[in-house]
């Protein structure tokens, strides 16, 4: 999977959203919607990236003990997209492959959050280890 921080990719219009309470996930959805509309993503693409953000934001809150989202507009030549980095200082994920499996949850959820967010994004990256927190990054590119 390609990396949105790779050479040739520029990031701009950085915005940070704190995730401390479930109302913050609502604010996150609104912020992502505004950005997706500004970028000219189609209605289905908007819905997918907002839904992915909602799933990952809830994970940050529920499993990471809160954290933040960094939203940027990414540019690769003439291509544009929205990138979201979900960052927490929580307990981390010991087994990432297992956490990505549909139906697996360490909490009370459905176990669709991580895998679902990955399917709803063009790029997906996760960095985590026990005690070191978690960073999940997704990108949705506007099609040509």
């Amino acid at each position: 999977m390609s990396d949105a921080s790779a050479p040739g990719i520029r990031a701009e219009s950085r915005e940070e959203i704190a995730l401390r309470a479930s109302e913050d996930v609502v604010r996150l959805r609104q912020a992502v919607r505004d950005r997706a509309v500004t970028l000219g993503l189609s209605l289905v693409e908007q819905t997918k990236i907002i839904t992915a953000a909602s799933e990952l934001g809830r994970n940050t809150l529920q499993y990471g003990g809160g954290g933040k989202v960094v939203m940027t507009t990414v540019l690769n030549g003439t291509r544009k997209g929205v990138r979201l980095d979900f960052i927490d200082q929580g307990p981390g994920i010991a087994d990432i492959a297992r956490a990505l499996t549909d139906g697996y949850t360490s909490g009370g959820g459905l176990g669709l959050g991580l895998g679902g967010a990955k399917r709803l994004s063009d790029e997906f990256d996760i960095e985590s280890s026990p005690g070191m927190g978690t960073r999940v990054s997704i990108v949705r590119w506007k099609p040509y």
Binding site: I50, T51, L110, L112, G116
Partner: protein, 118 residues
């Protein structure tokens, strides 16, 4: 406390979700509806989600829970008005809302409840 209003129409309960719900609000609606099915002796529940531009796994689970709880309380739940982009996203997310009755709009949803002779 913030709440989604539940309207009663004969033997049916009607809910129109018009705000972007945070998780606690969704849980409150689930509890309120379950209580009202019993206290109002409702035979049907109609939930209009036409104003929702996002249904994530949490809201999806709430919808499934309401359908399941109403079933064991001898009532039928119909979810109406799902937007096409929401349907596409829900299925890709991995949620099929199995066991949840749906209709395209409020009119068809009411017809579905009434056809059951409830």
């Amino acid at each position: 406390m913030e709440r989604i209003p539940i309207l009663r129409m004969g033997r049916f309960l009607l809910v129109t979700i018009q705000v972007d719900m945070h998780d606690q609000l969704a849980l409150t609606l689930q509890d309120d509806l379950t209580q009202r099915i019993v206290s109002d002796r409702a035979k049907g529940v109609l939930i209009d989600i036409s104003s929702l531009d996002v249904v994530d796994s949490f809201i999806g689970r709430m919808i499934s829970n309401i359908a399941g709880m109403s079933r064991v309380l001898d009532a039928v739940t119909v979810v109406v008005g799902m937007r096409p982009a929401v349907a596409i996203t829900l299925v890709e997310l991995g949620l099929n809302l199995e066991g949840v009755r749906t209709a395209l709009n409020v009119e068809k949803g009411m017809a579905l409840l009434q056809d059951r002779g409830l």
